[in-house]
């Protein structure tokens, strides 16, 4: 028990950074993902092609490589890490997690859009609505209700993916385990279980929220 109290500050710092990574890159990925999904169904072929290439390229590459690119290759290409590398690498990690997660958001949103009966879009067009209005006023509000469970899955995966950022100079929760085991090498199992409990503290409420929202916005067919 003493050892848990001992590593508490370390774990709390990591916990905070993990939540920060989750919230900021989750938000970024959501916005980017919705845009990509809209491009995927847009009437302009060039936008559709871009969306397909973007989605397939990013979701089929391991996260480790995406983060490696952000942390090691971007600085070579001239992206400055800034005077404080802790902040610089945190921003690069957020960028990597956002880029990596956005195609999964886009695909979840697209599956929701595909679930909206085609007649809805045809009806909207028949009363003179353009692509933008059809999408934002008719399709997305209905699709949104259906994508809550898959989107929450994406964010739960993102929570766990933040642990990779530790390799790239971000002291998130999992990198706290490495430090904790230096001083408590005899209690590695306890240190891992403690970290796991803190991850559950994020992911289980996410699942609960999903269930609640789902019930609230359910479309009865």
């Amino acid at each position: 028990m003493d050892s848990l109290i001992d590593v508490m500050p370390l774990y709390l710092e990591g916990f905070g950074l993990t939540i920060l990574l989750l919230v900021v890159s989750g938000l970024g990925a959501f916005i980017l993902g919705v845009i990509i999904a809209a491009m995927r169904i847009s009437p302009l072929p060039s936008l559709r092609v871009f969306a397909v290439v973007y989605t397939e390229a990013l979701r089929n590459v391991p996260l480790l490589l995406v983060l490696f690119f952000c942390a090691f290759v971007l600085p070579i290409l001239g992206v400055s890490v800034g005077p404080d590398p802790k902040v610089g690498y945190l921003l690069l990690a957020i960028l990597g997690l956002t880029l990596y997660t956005s195609p999964f958001v886009a695909e979840a949103v697209r599956s929701g859009i595909n679930g909206v009966p085609i007649g809805q879009a045809e009806a909207a067009r028949s009363i003179g609505m353009g692509f933008g209005a059809t999408l934002t006023l008719v399709i997305l509000p209905q699709a949104g209700r259906m994508v809550v469970p898959p989107l929450i899955n994406v964010f739960i995966a993102l929570t766990k993916n933040t642990s990779v950022a530790g390799i790239f100079f971000v002291n998130e929760l999992f990198s706290g385990v490495q430090r904790a085991t230096r001083d408590h090498g005899d209690k590695v199992l306890l240190m891992l279980l403690f970290a796991a409990a803190l991850y559950l503290l994020i992911t289980i409420p996410l699942g609960q929220i999903a269930g609640y929202i789902e019930k609230k916005v359910r479309v009865l067919r």
Partner: protein
């Protein structure tokens, strides 16, 4: 710019490789003069090894400058040269040494179960290990040091100079703990080689861990980095052997002292780790 740098790095690497192979050649050509039919006390480990005409030595195969196995399968480095000195005193030529890879985790077991006769593998002497094996030496005092860009643009001479500056190390390492006391702005990763890119692009001004690891990193990236050469902790490297084989242990200590005195130890250093690190004073052996 990036491409030019890549070409320059590749060219530097090629030049360094030529230099390295030249050094390695220099180290092996004047073979240790092998003792002719040395006399040993009957029943001693030395007598048994001299009789067999071969010795099995455990070393690291992945520690540049100390024990590194090349593509030809022969390990090279300072630890390897020390092994050759000991073997030559037993009347065993370098060709008759059998090298076995020992990683940090299997060194004590390999000595205890007789897989190897001795271990020379950047092996720090400490009390926990002394409970299961014995140590001759130390033959070198390693220590935590600092790696900076070639030319040392920040003028860092020791850990005091990194206070408030950006430094890279490995999360959970003793090195991280040691340097933290000097108040740097630490960023951490999982391997020391990951720290090189932030050092190159200026995100950090220094990388810190044991000087032997830093020397290896500097040696693999010729012309890019240099070791400050001012170790601020002490890790005595010893030669591991079977516990309580006091005769063998004190004989190895004698050999080390002879090698200190007649310059063989210094030669072994100069031709290997000396490429990057200064020639240290030989440490006094610890006849406990």
């Amino acid at each position: 710019m990036g491409l030019n740098r890549g070409i320059a790095a590749a060219a530097l690497a090629a030049v360094g490789l030529l230099g390295l192979s030249a050094c390695a050649g220099g180290a092996t050509e004047p073979a240790e003069p092998v003792a002719e039919a040395p006399e040993f006390e009957a029943g001693s480990t030395m007598a048994a090894l001299a009789e067999a005409g071969t010795i099995t030595i455990g070393t690291k195969f992945d520690q540049p400058l100390f024990g590194l196995q090349g593509l030809d399968g022969e390990p090279v480095g300072f630890d390897v040269e020390i092994g050759k000195i000991i073997a030559s005193e037993l009347g065993i030529a370098a060709d008759n040494i059998e090298w076995v890879e020992t990683v940090s985790a299997n060194r004590e077991p390999f000595i205890e179960n007789g897989t190897v006769d001795i271990v020379i593998a950047t092996y720090t002497i400490n009390d926990t290990r002394k409970e299961v094996i014995s140590f001759a030496g130390p033959y070198y005092l390693a220590g935590q040091d600092i790696l900076v860009l070639e030319g040392n643009p920040e003028g860092i001479t020791g850990p005091e100079d990194v206070a408030g500056k950006n430094v890279c190390s490995v999360a959970g390492s003793t090195s991280e703990q040691n340097i933290a006391e000097y108040g740097p702005n630490l960023i951490t990763t999982d391997t020391y080689s990951n720290c090189l890119e932030p050092l190159r692009n200026g995100a950090v001004v220094a990388v810190t861990t044991d000087n032997v690891i830093l020397a290896g990193l500097a040696d693999q990236n010729p012309g890019e980095f240099e070791v400050v050469n001012n170790a601020f902790t002490s890790e005595p490297y010893g030669i591991g052997l079977t516990r309580d084989d006091d005769v063998f242990r004190s004989w190895i200590n004698d050999v080390l002292e002879e090698a200190y005195a007649d310059g063989r130890w210094a030669d072994a250093w100069t031709s290997t780790a000396g490429v990057v690190l200064d020639l240290p004073e030989p440490p006094a052996v610890d006849r406990y």
